[in-house]
Amino acid sequence: MDSRLVQFVNCRLLRDHSIVKDDLWVRNGKIENPEKLFFDEKVQADVRIDCQGAIIAPGFIDLQINGGFGIDFSHDIAKVEEGVAKVAKGILAHGVTSFCPTLVTSPAKLYHQNLPRIKCKEGGAHGATVLGVHLEGPFISPQKKGAHPIEYIRTLDEGFQTLMDVYSTLDNVSIITMAPELANAPAVVKELSNRNVTVSVGHSMGDLRQGEIAVQHGATFITHLFNAMLPFHHRDPGLVGLLTSDAVPEGKTVFFGIIADGIHTHPAALRIAQRTHPAGLVLVTDAISALGLQEGTHQLGQMVVEVKDSRAFVAGTTTLCGSIANMIECVQHFAKATGCSMVTALEAASLHAAQTLGIERKKGTLQFGADADFVLLEDDYTVRSTWISGECVYKNPQYNK
């Protein structure tokens, strides 16, 4: 880690919910307070880096990503460490500095084998930080399974005990998505919250009341809003109604992931969500293994996938098989569809995810004392470079020194 004091100049920062012209000071992988450096330590910068007018935003955080670059976390079991590392490295180019590798509904055996191997790991030149695993299933509704394999969907017959039997451990687990209407779900939600696991409702046939009960027991996230849940109905708002529910405990915010790839969520729906509960909106990619692959046909696990026009189809069909938009594309699409400010778009990709996990003092922010994970961007969100702990871990080849 660089113990030199580095001053980033000629840049604009996302700070305190606005973009300001100011310098960024970094030392020992953390963001420093220049006032204290000046008056207490009386030091000047060892190194100055000219950002040539770029915007510095906190590094993006992806809470839901199933794989990428040919890797599928739920299926490439044998070399799971390598797989996670490959994705961690590849997403640096998208400005993502922290992520939650996501496992879809799988047999208990897979969790037993893999969970201990997908370790939380600080990022660096090797790749983005692994915050912890997002377990999307198997405690979901069979009617809202999406692309999950129905044979491995489970119920919580013995409540929390069943959950532990299936997963075997909660070490390295950040988020668990479950259907709140399952029997014993509320108690399980509560137990998980007490153990600092973020509980998310999703892949569910639940109505608003069931969602509210889950929130009152500690659930704080909604997995890919609109997808794999009942549609909003004006007399029965379903889980979508959590965005405006008055049953949310005082002081708590319900965050929600949304896939803004231009395909999974209609722009009008995106706007409704953004205008209704802007502070809770978290951009997620929910990307599949074809993320980052070139146009053409690819063998991915059991499936043959065709990447064409930035979409992934089951080969030979027009059936979409998951998102492959990267985080930058999601941010760009989100900003364009909603017409929102750059601050809003950037916070939806960084701050809100950090708040969801309760790590907003260190990640998703450029405040003093936070980890120096950030991204230099053009005004159109193109990534110029990505930095983790104050070290440049990705440089866009289009931008020469």
């Binding site: 980033f8 100049v9 310098d23 220049p34 006032e35 450096l37 000046f38 008056f39 330590e41 009386k42 030091v43 000047q44 190194v47 100055r48 880096i49 000219d50 950002c51 040539q52 770029a54 230099l376 110029r384 470079s385 440049c392 020194k401």
Partner: protein, 289 residues
């Protein structure tokens, strides 16, 4: 005394900044010989700082070999409070230039022993070789720094209780809640500023006109402490037209004529006259990202 009258506050700031730049560059400071600058805070000097930053960025002046001593600081206000003078100086000036933080001096309004802090400040000024140019402003009650009416004209750095006029003038920075304005401040004394080799006072606005009149057209009086500078060998007052409103026409005409006769259009205050000096921004190496 010299009295320089400019059209408006913006031109006063400009002129003052260029004067400071010229004094530093003429002095030619180096590692063995620092230029010592006394600095004010407040509304009036803000424009001067902005202009100085511009001049620094254009490579026309460097603060690498400049030492600074600020005039004052509130007592009891946290250093990072938006109204503290540390905050003002850092945000409006120091963070934009190349000054070495070790060469920056401000009174510490949170020192455990305020009297000791003041005595040590005087000592630091002495050790620096004395102030070459002390820049200051003037309060509506004619005070310089926090030397309120009635302050000894030979006073040194000390703790002062602020006058009602000052509290009222400053309330606008504390949400118009006068109860939030600090009641005490540490300030250099009139005597301290008088020790400087040269003094430059900035005065802008009609609300300062009466104070300017009292300062230069009436006698030396501890009720209008800026008047003490009538007895300083090198004092320069720069003001705008509005600040001259209470002066005699004769005074204004006299100094305007002096200005026109001695400082013509191609004067040395023109930017183009100055070449970049060592340490100015043009010579720093930057890594591009």
């Amino acid at each position: 005394m010299r009295l320089v009258i400019q059209d408006n506050a913006s031109e006063v700031s400009d002129w003052a900044a260029r004067y400071v730049m010229r004094k530093i560059n003429d002095f030619g400071p180096s590692a063995d010989r620092f230029f010592v600058l006394g600095l004010p805070t407040g509304g009036t000097p803000l424009g001067m700082y902005k202009k100085l930053i511009e001049l620094f960025k254009d490579g026309k002046v460097s603060f690498k070999y400049v030492k600074t001593f600020n005039m004052d600081e509130y007592v009891g206000l946290p250093r990072d409070h938006p109204e503290s003078y540390h905050y003002y100086m850092f945000e409006n000036f120091f963070k934009h230039i190349d000054i070495d933080p070790k060469n920056v001096h401000l009174l510490d309004g949170n020192a455990p022993n305020l009297e000791k802090e003041c005595v040590e400040y005087e000592e630091k000024i002495k050790q620096s070789g004395g102030v070459d140019l002390f820049v200051g402003g003037i309060g509506p009650d004619g005070h310089i720094a926090f030397n309120e009416p009635g302050s000894s004209l030979v006073s040194r750095t000390r703790v002062k209780t602020l006058a009602q006029d000052t509290l009222e003038a400053n309330a606008r920075f504390f949400n118009n809640d006068i109860s939030k304005v600090p009641k005490q401040a540490l300030t250099v004394g009139v005597g301290t500023v008088m020790d400087a080799r040269e003094v430059m006072i900035l005065i802008t606005g009609a609300h300062k006109a009466f104070a300017l009149y009292k300062a230069i057209e009436e006698g030396v009086n501890h009720m209008w402490t800026v008047s003490a500078f009538q007895q300083h060998p090198r004092t320069l007052f720069i003001c705008d037209e509005d600040a001259t409103l209470e002066l005699r026409v004769k005074t204004v005409k006299y100094f305007k004529k002096l200005q026109n006769d001695n400082i013509g259009p191609s004067d040395t205050l023109n930017d183009a006259h100055f070449s970049p000096c060592d340490g100015a921004q043009g010579k720093t190496q930057y890594a591009l990202m």
